[in-house]
């Protein structure tokens, strides 16, 4: 079972307290009426399916109830970073290196 760091509670807690809430950083268009059918289709349905680091939303549903962003590696299933809604996706993975290292044998 994964341990997930809630950026609001500032605590690493069991996966059971959280739920996945889709890909992150997909902003709802400011004015949907002005969207072409293709643009709106992309907003609704088109998602990346990366093999590697994936930015996604999670919710601490059985804790503080708040949504946050996470960068998770879809291969190792390890969280590289979690950060508050509204914050930019970390480009430097400095915070994550410790969690995601392949430990030397």
């Amino acid at each position: 079972m994964l341990l997930i760091h809630c950026p609001y509670c500032k605590e690493k807690l069991p996966e059971l307290e959280f739920e996945y809430a889709g890909q992150a950083h997909i902003a709802r268009p400011e004015n949907p009426a002005e969207q072409t059918d293709a643009e709106w289709r992309d907003y609704l349905f088109i998602r990346s399916n990366v093999r590697g680091d994936h930015a996604e939303q999670w919710r601490h549903s059985h804790g503080c109830g708040r949504y946050f962003n996470a960068l998770r590696n879809t291969v190792s299933d390890k969280f590289i970073a979690t950060y508050e809604i509204g914050q930019a996706c970390p480009t430097s993975h400095a915070e994550g290196e410790e969690n995601n290292e392949q430990l030397e044998s």
């Binding site: 994964l2 004015n31 009426a33 709106w40 289709r41 919710r59 949504y67 390890k78 392949q102 044998s105």
Partner: protein
């Protein structure tokens, strides 16, 4: 007590005799025996029949990896039969009843064994090839016959009578396996003061130390060294020891699942004691010291009872004091079996020969054999085994340069001990996605890159000898302690007379048979032979994953613990490719078969899933309600009076409600309080309807879409004040709607000043419907005029009802004059009883969800999730009136003009009136054009709701039909088994279309 016990050997308690039965025959063993060791001590090797060929089988191991000796066990009382118990693991206790499996009529004479004679028919992939023709035979002949004879054991027929427990545990260091490596690691960490949990699947600690002939460790004999170490560990406050505890899975972030058996070894378990307990152990560091598993050799007849692993024979001798035969031929490609031979020889077992397929064997072993008078046949192979229910001899010959076998002689024996070397037990390491690398020199997979904080020690790293395992255990513990940031002092354990050794890895042993002809087994439990694997490769299976699925090699309940490496080696040989290029199948939890009960733990019966009950539920129960589940709630379905069936009760409830007044517990309706300066703006964005101009004290039907434009939920929403909305949702949708609201609020509109609170369980909601509803309610309402003028339809008031603060809505889900009273949930039943008492003056009727459904359908009110299915737009459902036309945006608005949402032939919600008014259609029935009898017919849609309408004296239905609105007044057909019904498409409002009744 019999000929197969060896005096002075074993860790059994010879003072305590234990009686048990196997297939109805009573046997005697000792405390400390397993079923397998006790049967072997009685000379019984034949313990079961195999899965496919029904070949006689006996135990091939002495541990949890056992593929053959699977038995049924019955513990006291009903519901305690278990199939496929490994006889090598099940501890003996007085009165234990066991039976063999896969045989009929008896283990000794089994009709299914004819399969063995027909084995050419059942070759690899037979399932895909043999039963293809004729097609009609599949259902009637092939499948029933195969089903009847296939399967491992017999499923229990009664509910499991036992209870199971689960616990969490946190520790600094978890050590899996208490053999030499695990014990050395535990000692190292324990003496350092580290928090240690040591788990082992056996009843006692020691691992391979229990199986080896006594040697000297730190100057003591093994037994007293072990006793001293266990005593030291047990005395440490920082050490927790768990035996009979199998680490079954290694999960993320160093969580290890450990299944602990608590009572299976007891004659009289304490009352109410759980049978097993699942531990979820989160460790900062993990040491896997699970050792290695001995590989069988693959030769014709290697599955005959009496043929077993050399190491197993050594375990039966040294741990259980049992010799597995009187004359045992040893066949091996590894030094270890020589030591097994020596142990058995020293205990008085005749060893006619040690057959070693290697070209050279070291002088020490050869001289030790000579000393004991054992004929060492180096560079020899076993070509076949004689005997069916018990081995009676082997054929042995010299391996010539071209891999043929010459100078073949027969050697009589009653046991064959084989060893193909040792496979590191890396199952748990593989669960972590740790990589394995191929060690070319020793032809073995060893642990590579780690993904978790774990360390492998001893046999798992390919080390083979007690001294090497002890040293490696200390080393692993030091690594773990350093990783924990602790001091890491070492310690030394000195073994005198250590038995180091090595070996080679073989495919099938050389023989003169065609490689596609022999009965040399690779996977005992799934009856896969070397021939099957070669055939699979010849038929085009190139990867080991394909070979596995085609042959089922490694797919039995032992997960191929003994067969995987041999299968891989043979496939690689047939492919002519290096072993690591053929791939390796993936190990998955659980490590050994684990009961469902252990996984379920406490989560069964009433604890499996919560049953939500309203405050009024007790009244419903006392008054004879029949209940139905609605999401997690249990709701009163209908209230039958004496002699009434469901149909009669519902018809009466409908009739009485429309005639006078009915009362309904609507407390399960989802409720969300939306509060804040921006509450109206938030509601405007979420719901399709306009909210800005809705006055305080008024309510409105609200429709919620997903961003894709499809209906998600609906409900009546009241405006309590400028900044406060009382939102109701469907019973099943409450949590979903709140989550959706929170998602938008937190991630898209954090600028809105709004708070959302679930209030579903804060309110009891009582609905009163019918012409006399006002009369029943009025006497209890203080401070509010309930007249039609002062309190019109879709009004709400905060007031006092029967001394309780209340939110009173004038709403109707029945088309009758209706009120919904919300009071703090704890007062629900009290108010309910007051209203019921008052209502008796008007012959009040209490109704359940079924009547609610009928009454709302008569009015064409939809149930989201019943009349809609996630592909229905407001227009499809005839709800465009609920969309705020002037609103620039709301969730889902943009989607409503996507091209496909505007197609005229979309499925639309319409009413159906059957030609025969007495026919009540089945909900879910498919709809076709009239007269369309083609097979398959084009399906136009389906019936979503269908009831007998008492007030109309006929059936009514709603349906989603392609181009449904255009079809108004036309006919469609509903084909059902035996009869096709015809119906006319209508509007969805069947009763009181002008809505006069709600205005009363």
């Amino acid at each position: 007590m019999n000929n197969w016990r060896v005096d002075g050997k074993g860790r059994i308690n010879r003072d305590k005799r234990v009686r048990f039965t196997f297939d109805g025959v009573s046997y005697q063993g000792y405390e400390g025996d397993t079923v397998a060791s006790a049967l072997l001590a009685n000379g019984v090797h034949l313990m079961g029949r195999s899965f496919k060929y029904h070949r006689p089988r006996g135990p091939v191991t002495a541990g949890s990896e056992e593929p053959n000796a699977l038995i049924g066990t019955s513990r006291s009382g009903a519901g305690r039969f278990e199939p496929n118990t490994r006889a090598t693991v099940q501890e003996l206790y007085e009165g234990l009843t066991t039976v063999s499996q896969n045989k009929w009529p008896s283990l000794n004479f089994d009709v299914g064994a004819v399969n063995d004679k027909l084995h050419k028919l059942f070759a690899a992939g037979f399932y895909y090839k043999t039963f293809m023709w004729p097609k009609s035979f599949w259902d009637k002949v092939y499948e029933p016959v195969i089903r009847a004879s296939a399967g491992l054991g017999v499923s229990p027929t009664e509910p499991d009578a036992d209870t199971y427990a689960s616990r969490y545990l946190h520790t600094e260091l978890l050590i899996v396996g208490a053999g030499p490596a695990g014990l050395a690691a535990a000692l190292t960490a324990a003496r350092n003061g580290t928090d240690v949990v040591l788990v082992d699947e056996n009843r006692e600690l020691g691992g391979s130390l229990l199986s080896e002939a006594p040697s000297a460790i730190d100057g003591k004999n093994t037994e007293s060294w072990l006793a001293a170490v266990i005593a030291e560990l047990e005395a440490c406050d920082n050490v927790r020891i768990m035996t009979r505890a199998t680490a079954i899975g290694y999960y993320h972030e160093n969580m290890v699942g450990v299944a602990e058996k608590l009572t299976d070894h007891m004659e009289n378990p304490p009352a109410n004691a759980p049978r097993e307990r699942m531990w979820r152990i989160r460790a900062q560091e993990v040491i896997l010291a699970q050792g290695a598993l001995e590989r069988p050799l693959v030769f014709d007849g290697n599955d005959r009872p009496g043929v077993m692993m050399a190491g197993a024979a050594q375990t039966y001798l040294n741990r259980y004091g049992v010799k597995v035969g009187n004359a045992a031929v040893v066949v091996t490609s590894h030094d270890s079996a020589w030591y097994a031979a020596f142990d058995l020889a020293d205990a008085g077992v005749k060893i006619p020969a040690i057959v070693d397929v290697r070209t050279t064997v070291n002088d020490y072993l050869q001289s030790e054999a000579q000393k004991r008078g054992i004929s060492a046949k180096v560079g020899h192979s076993v070509t076949s085994v004689s005997g069916t229910k018990r081995v009676s001899g082997v054929k042995v010959g010299r391996i010539s340069g071209d891999q043929h076998v010459t100078d073949i002689i027969s050697i009589p024996c009653d046991a064959v001990l084989m060893s193909g070397g040792w496979t590191p037990s890396l199952h748990l390491f593989s669960h972590t996605k740790g990589s394995l690398h191929w060690d070319e020199e020793n032809e073995v997979y060893l642990p590579g890159e780690r993904t978790e904080r774990c360390h492998i020690a001893g046999g798992g790293r390919g080390l083979w000898s007690q001294q090497a395992a002890f040293d490696d255990g200390v080393h692993a513990a030091q690594q773990a302690l350093i990783s924990l940031g602790q001091n890491a002092p070492g310690l030394s354990v000195d073994v005198d007379g250590d038995r180091a050794g090595s070996g080679i890895v073989m495919e099938e042993l050389p023989s003169n048979d065609d490689k596609l002809a022999g009965r040399a087994f690779v996977d005992f439990q799934n009856d896969v032979t070397a021939k099957d694997i070669r055939l699979a490769v010849r038929e085009g299976m190139l990867s080991i994953e394909h070979v596995k699925r085609f042959t089922t090699n490694g797919m039995a309940t032992d997960q191929g613990k003994m067969s995987n490496m041999n299968g891989l080696k043979i496939a690689a040989n047939e492919l002519g490719r290096p072993t690591p290029k053929v791939g390796l199948t993936t190990f998955r939890p659980p490590y050994t078969p684990t009961t469902f009960g252990t996984f379920a733990g406490y989560h069964k019966d009433e604890l499996f899933e919560v049953t939500r009950k309203t405050n009024i539920d007790g009244w419903a129960e006392e008054n004879g309600a029949v209940f139905e589940p609605v999401s997690l709630w249990r709701r009163a379905w209908y209230y039958p009076k004496a002699g009434e069936d469901m149909h009669a009760a519902v018809a009466r409830e409908c009739r009485e409600t429309r005639a006078s007044v009915g009362m309904f517990d609507a407390s399960t309706l989802g409720k969300i309080e939306v509060v804040g300066p921006d509450a109206a703006e938030f509601m405007n964005r979420m719901y399709t309807n306009p909210w800005t101009k809705l006055a305080s004290g008024r309510c409105r039907y609200g429709l919620l879409l997903g961003e894709d434009g499809f209906i998600r939920d609906d409900g009546v929403i009241g405006r309590i004040s400028e900044d406060r909305f009382h939102v109701t949702t469907t019973t099943g949708g409450a949590a979903r709607v709140l989550t959706m609201m929170e998602h938008f609020l937190q991630t898209e509109w954090p600028d809105l000043d709004v708070w959302l609170t679930s209030t579903t369980e804060q309110w009891s909601t009582i609905a009163l419907n019918g012409p006399n509803a006002r009369k029943v309610l009025e006497p209890f309402v203080k401070g509010t005029d309930l007249s039609a003028e002062a309190f019109p339809h879709m009004a709400l008031r905060e007031c006092t009802v029967g001394s309780f603060e209340a939110r009173l809505f004038r709403v109707s889900f029945t088309g009758e004059l209706g009120f919904e009273v919300n009071v703090p949930s704890e007062h629900g039943r009290a108010l309910w009883e007051m209203l019921y008492q008052e209502g008796k003056k008007y012959d009040i009727c209490v109704y359940g969800t079924e009547t609610m459904h009928v009454l709302r359908a008569e009015k064409g009110f939809i149930i989201v999730g019943q009349d809609t299915d996630g592909t229905v737009t407001p227009a499809d459902a005839g709800l465009t009136w609920a969309i705020g036309k002037k609103k620039p945006d709301f969730v889902g608005k943009r989607s409503l003009t996507r091209p496909d949402m505007l197609l005229p032939k979309r499925k639309q919600l319409v009413g159906l009136l059957t030609e025969d008014p007495s026919v009540v259609l089945e909900e879910g029935a498919q709809i076709v054009e009239t007269g369309d009898t083609a097979i398959p017919a084009k399906m136009l849609g389906h019936v979503t709701s269908s009831y007998w309408s008492e007030v109309l004296g006929r059936s009514i239905a709603m349906a989603l039909i392609e181009g449904g609105f255009e079809r108004n007044g036309t006919s469609i057909d509903i084909p059902m088994p035996g009869q096709t019904h015809r119906a006319t498409v209508s509007g969805t409002v069947f009763y009181d279309p002008d809505g006069d009744r709600i205005k009363m």
